[in-house]
């Protein structure tokens, strides 16, 4: 289990405060909140790319707050996927394994297995600029999963996809999680992503974690109101036309 305790991160005038947040083993936790609320700061702090000025991050009771990113085993998938443009899809997926000194035979086996699961076997020789947005996303997920991370940190991975591809990718992520059972913390500002994918939703406002709720609880809560209010006029207008 990953536990965030009493965390405070400062970035210029911005302050991120997280009282307590638990990510259970195998859980798909969504972090929802409007843009600029500090979701990415939270993700980067967990990844070890930013230092908190207060608080602790614990993995199975072990304090890893000062552990460098390369020794945390937290795999980050940023919004633009950040595939290495100088490498093929195969080498991208193999990158973390080679960095950990895994032998080439095992690298080949793991990359091929993941490529099978993610249905990207035919793309392995391609460079990132020869892949579509959805294909890039799958390669990025394979690259992150290859190292068997303690947690997958996903920063708005669906934001760059068009609506049709987005719903497909959402379903794909849900199925993949059910199949592999990895632990994930997925940041989004999209309520549909949060409710569809999350076992629980951690809701953030103005730099603070304000609630952690199950999706059905969240939809009943006051926090869902701005999202619902945003969508209702659209539904009403369609009902009016019907």
């Amino acid at each position: 289990m990953i536990v965030i305790e009493d965390l405070e991160v400062r970035l210029g005038d911005f302050r991120l405060l997280v009282g307590r947040l638990e990510v259970r083993d195998g859980e798909y936790l969504m972090v929802l909140g409007p843009s600029g609320v500090g979701k990415t700061v939270l993700l980067h702090t967990l990844a070890g790319l930013m230092k908190p000025c207060r608080g602790r991050i614990l993995v199975d009771g072990e304090d890893i707050t000062s552990t460098p990113p390369e020794r945390r085993g937290f795999a980050l998938i940023p919004q633009n996927y950040a595939l290495f443009p100088n490498m093929s899809a195969y080498d991208n997926i193999a990158y973390g394994l080679r960095a950990r000194g895994v032998g080439e035979g095992d690298v080949r086996r793991i990359v091929t297995e993941l490529a099978d699961i993610l249905e990207i076997k035919h793309l392995l020789k391609r460079k990132p600029n020869q892949l579509s947005g959805g294909e890039q996303q799958r390669v990025a997920i394979a690259r992150a999963l290859a190292i068997k991370p303690r947690i997958l940190l996903l920063d708005e991975p669906l934001a760059n996809l068009d609506p049709r591809l987005r719903s497909k990718a959402r379903e794909f992520l849900k199925n993949l999680h059910q199949e592999l059972g990895f632990t994930a913390l997925h940041v989004t500002h999209n309520i549909v992503d949060a409710v569809y994918l999350g076992k629980r939703i951690a809701y953030m406002e103005e730099g603070k974690l304000v609630a952690v709720l199950r999706p059905e609880e969240f939809m009943e809560s006051e926090y869902a109101k701005p999202y619902v209010d945003d969508l209702m006029p659209v539904f009403r207008s369609f009902r009016g036309r019907g």
């Binding site: 950040a82 990158y95 960095a99 690259r143």
Partner: protein, 278 residues
């Protein structure tokens, strides 16, 4: 039919304006190319074949001077470029990736050799590292740079710093730092992330920086005259022959130098193009 004609004229009008713009650009660009090509052509047209034959064979003394000057110049400029890459790439990376107090001062310092006359740069190098320089008076150890091969190398390196560092810095700045962050979360150390991701992606810029630094080193004369007149580099020898034997001999030495550097830099640009296509 009338509508068709009207449509046609309204479409052609911006096209014509666009062409006029292109023509203006081309004329101005051609003027600048001529500004470079005409002096090179003039130099080649002024060559006296008999003087050239004398310099490169007929007169053993002149031939030997020319040969050793070429060797000194190319060896020293290559060494200064290598030194600048070893020391300049880390500095360029730090300036591109990190913010720290006094960063703008460091950036201005890097550009100092661009701003000062190179004769003054030569004086500064002597006052810093020479026998009567600050380092010697503080430590008792002086670098052997006055009238030595290493003096030529140091003078070339000093004046080339801005071209090497600034070009490589821009190359690093153009690479998304998120690539390195992700590499680190996958288990790569800072060094591995740098050598496997950032440096290969910046390679085109590093080569461009090396080409510019090398070119600057090859063309340097001011600082070399002050620091190390001996061993004579090509530029020093051209100046000497101009003063002692006249223009014909200076041209006879300059033409093969220009030809050789032109061929080398064209080859390097081709190599740079191949790297960027990879």
């Amino acid at each position: 039919m009338e509508t068709c004609r009207r449509d046609y004229s309204s479409m052609s009008s911006p096209l014509v304006r666009g062409e006029a713009f292109l023509v203006t650009l081309s004329v101005l660009a051609t003027l600048l190319i001529c500004f470079i090509v005409v002096p090179i052509a003039a130099l080649f047209l002024m060559v006296d074949p008999s003087t050239m034959a004398e310099v490169f064979g007929g007169n053993p003394m002149l031939a030997s001077q020319a040969r050793s000057a070429f060797i000194v110049t190319f060896k020293a400029s290559l060494l200064s470029t290598a030194i600048l890459l070893i020391l300049g790439v880390p500095l360029a990376y730090i300036l591109a990736r990190y913010d720290f107090p006094g960063k703008s001062v460091v950036e201005s310092l890097v550009d100092v050799p661009l701003m000062i006359p190179h004769i003054v740069a030569g004086v500064m190098i002597l006052m810093a590292f020479g026998r009567r320089g600050i380092i010697a008076s503080l430590t008792g150890v002086a670098l052997e740079i006055e009238d030595t091969f290493w003096g030529v190398v140091i003078a070339m390196a000093f004046v080339s710093i801005p071209l090497a560092v600034d070009t490589v810095k821009v190359a690093f700045q153009s690479i998304d730092p998120m690539l390195e962050y992700v590499a680190r979360t996958l288990g790569a150390s800072r060094f591995r992330a740098f050598t496997t991701i950032t440096l290969p992606l910046a390679l085109k810029g590093v080569i461009a920086g090396a080409i510019l630094a090398w070119a600057r080193g090859l063309s340097e004369v001011g600082a070399i005259l002050v620091v190390a007149y001996y061993p004579k580099s090509v530029n020093v020898l051209i100046l000497e022959w101009l003063n002692v034997y006249g223009l014909r001999y200076a041209i006879a030495l300059a033409v093969p130098f220009v030809l050789l550097t032109l061929a080398l830099f064209t080859a390097l640009r081709v190599l740079q193009g191949m790297v960027s296509k990879k």
